[in-house]
């Protein structure tokens, strides 16, 4: 059972033009950053030299921070929303994994 209350900002008025909108540009930017992150992670884990690993790790941090900023912008302009989980669901999950944790002791 989930709450139906969405957490979102008021949406920007949708442009009637058929061309590329700001929303589309932001979506494209998000997709670009996501693909770059995946490419950096793959290269990072395939390379055996430390200097390349550290280079890719630094570049990955920059791109993932940028991705995070773009997600925030998307939320600010009302183009993305989130629905909070019901307290019962959270409590049930917490209880389940607390019990699993007891097994590891």
């Amino acid at each position: 059972m989930t709450s139906s209350k969405k957490i979102e900002n008021p949406k920007m008025p949708h442009s009637q033009k058929a061309g590329v909108t700001d929303h589309d540009l932001l979506s494209a930017a998000l997709a670009t950053e996501k693909n770059l992150d995946i490419a950096y992670v793959t290269a990072m884990h395939e390379v055996g030299q430390k200097m390349f690993y550290s280079l890719y790790f630094d570049l990955l941090k920059e791109t993932s921070l940028l991705h995070q900023k773009l997600l925030e912008l998307q939320f600010q302009h009302g183009w993305s929303s989130l629905i909070p989980a019901a307290p019962e669901e959270v409590e049930a999950l917490k209880q389940e994994y607390t019990d699993y944790r007891q097994e590891l002791k």
Binding site: V20, A29, L36, A39, A43, T63
Partner: protein, 192 residues
């Protein structure tokens, strides 16, 4: 009866001799492996080792199959038939054993060459490998495309905060592109 038993004993002795020969070959190969340090020669030694192992398993199985049937008179006839089978197996084993010896002998002169080679690397050297080139190409292309994409987005975008963010993103990707390119220039093309 006595002749049959003596024949069986002779066959067992022959099998033991073959096993001894194979063990000697294994010991020689292990000694050569200890001298070898380069990874290029190891797969050859591994292949040579794999050949005697199934033969040992076959000879052991034939020896084990013969031992429980010695007490029965009817099984003695089967043993003579079985004795032919391990003898047939002995022939390919003997044929493989001399083949292994020249291979071992061929590998022997290489041990002297390995002693002259430089020691193994403790960590990977700072060079760009052939595997790495494809990843670098992918990353450079992605960053180049991102820069062009953000430049076009800055021209087409209406919202000021998005415009500012796209400008920063374009500059960031251009800097990343330059970093990757400088690494390529510094560390590439060092194959000897």
């Amino acid at each position: 009866m006595e002749s049959l038993q003596s024949l069986q004993q002779l066959q067992q002795l022959k099998q033991l001799q073959i096993q001894l020969q194979q063990l000697e070959i294994q010991i020689q190969l292990q000694q050569e492996e200890q001298k070898k340090e380069s990874a290029a020669q190891q797969p050859q030694s591994i292949q040579i080792q794999e050949q005697p192992k199934p033969e040992l398993a076959q000879s052991e199985q034939s020896a084990q199959s013969e031992q429980p049937s010695q007490s029965e008179q009817s099984a003695q006839v089967e043993q003579s038939a079985q004795g032919e089978q391990p003898s047939q197996k002995e022939q390919p084993a003997q044929a493989k054993a001399p083949e292994q010896q020249p291979q071992g002998q061929k590998s022997q002169p290489k041990t002297t060459d390995t002693a002259k080679e430089p020691p193994a690397y403790l960590e990977p050297p700072k060079v760009i490998s052939t595997l790495h080139i494809s990843y670098l190409q992918n990353l450079l292309s992605a960053n180049l495309l991102a820069v062009k994409q953000y430049r076009q987005a800055v021209q087409n975008c209406q919202l000021p905060d998005l415009k500012r963010q796209f400008e920063e993103a374009g500059q960031m990707h251009l800097a990343q592109y330059d970093k990757l390119l400088s690494f390529l220039v510094e560390n590439g093309g060092q194959a000897k």
